[in-house]
């Protein structure tokens, strides 16, 4: 393995069988994140505060993101290195904060704008997860 010739321009090819931050996982994250954003906007449009459904949505999103982070870290420990490792790690850790920060900010907001705050968090997670995928798949040529 270590002395294998490089024939595809990839210094560190992805390890077989372990593919975190994959497209299906990012799609799943995006669906939860966008659903949360729509629910948040719906609350604002309906002049309602956020309810249990939003908090559960944020919690589900956080669990999926934690799962992604766990598998990504596991693969990193096994030797996989994306080209921009520092940026990747910043995104990986940063995205975990977003649903929590969004939920905390929205929970204490007594007006209908709480839903918009949650919606911002959902959109940010969706965007960051796709950027994360880009960063993961970019391998130093």
């Amino acid at each position: 393995m270590e002395g294998a010739p490089e024939n595809d321009g990839h210094a560190r090819p992805p390890l077989p069988g372990v593919r975190p931050v994959t497209t299906p996982l990012v799609i799943a994250i995006s669906i939860v994140a966008v659903a949360l954003a729509l629910l948040g906007l719906a609350a604002t449009l309906a002049s309602r505060r956020i309810g249990l459904v939003h908090l559960v949505g944020a919690a589900v999103l956080e669990v999926v993101l934690l799962a992604q982070a766990a598998v990504a870290v596991l693969t990193l420990t096994r030797g996989y290195r994306p080209a921009e490792l520092a940026t990747f790690l910043a995104y990986l850790a940063g995205v975990l904060l977003v649903p929590i920060a969004g939920a905390l900010l929205a929970r204490t907001e007594p007006s209908r704008w709480a839903g918009t705050v949650i919606a911002v968090a959902g959109v940010v997670v969706a965007i960051m997860s796709w950027r994360l995928l880009q960063l993961w798949e970019a391998v130093r040529a």
């Binding site: 309602r48 929205a106 968090a121």
Partner: protein, 158 residues
């Protein structure tokens, strides 16, 4: 009031002024979420750039760091509220608007000076032009809030 009903309690007030007569909580908190995101994003980006590739594009990376500081100050001002918070946010957001317009224009005129992107390059194109929309929204909100509570609005320079 059913605080934790599945879809949230109905509110009658869309967000008037806070008790201390400062900015309305609701829209301001949305801005806090947006500015907080950019403070985090610009700060992390600047940190990585300055730590690993400073010599490649010092001007662009120092601008990234400057942008990050502006976002952090604006977030803090919006979060704090009150007269001082409003003034802090107003100053930071004005600097932000000038920054995104100046850097956006220069990055188009002289691409060589900006070999790597900053948050404000090409008016924030890399971030869906949100960096351009954000200070406009922020200034509109601060202006509206000032009218709401009868504060003197700063002279409008267009």
């Amino acid at each position: 009031m059913p605080e934790n009903s599945a879809f949230g309690a109905r509110v009658t007030d869309g967000g008037g002024a806070d008790h201390d007569g400062s900015l309305a909580g609701g829209p301001r908190r949305v801005l806090v979420a947006l500015y907080g995101t950019f403070a985090l994003a610009a700060g992390a980006r600047a940190g990585v750039q300055l730590a690993t590739q400073f010599s490649e594009a010092p001007v662009a990376y120092l601008l990234s760091a400057f942008a990050a500081v502006v976002y952090i100050v604006a977030t803090a001002g919006l979060l704090r509220g009150g007269r001082r918070g409003r003034l802090t946010a107003l100053t930071a957001i004005t600097v932000e608007l000038i920054g995104v317009l100046a850097v956006g224009t220069f990055s188009l005129l002289d691409r060589a000076a900006f070999p790597d992107a900053t948050v404000w390059s090409v008016y924030g194109k890399g971030y869906g032009f949100v960096p351009l929309a954000l200070p406009v929204l922020g200034l509109l909100l601060l202006r509206q809030q000032a009218d709401d509570v009868g504060w003197s609005t700063p002279p409008d320079h267009g």
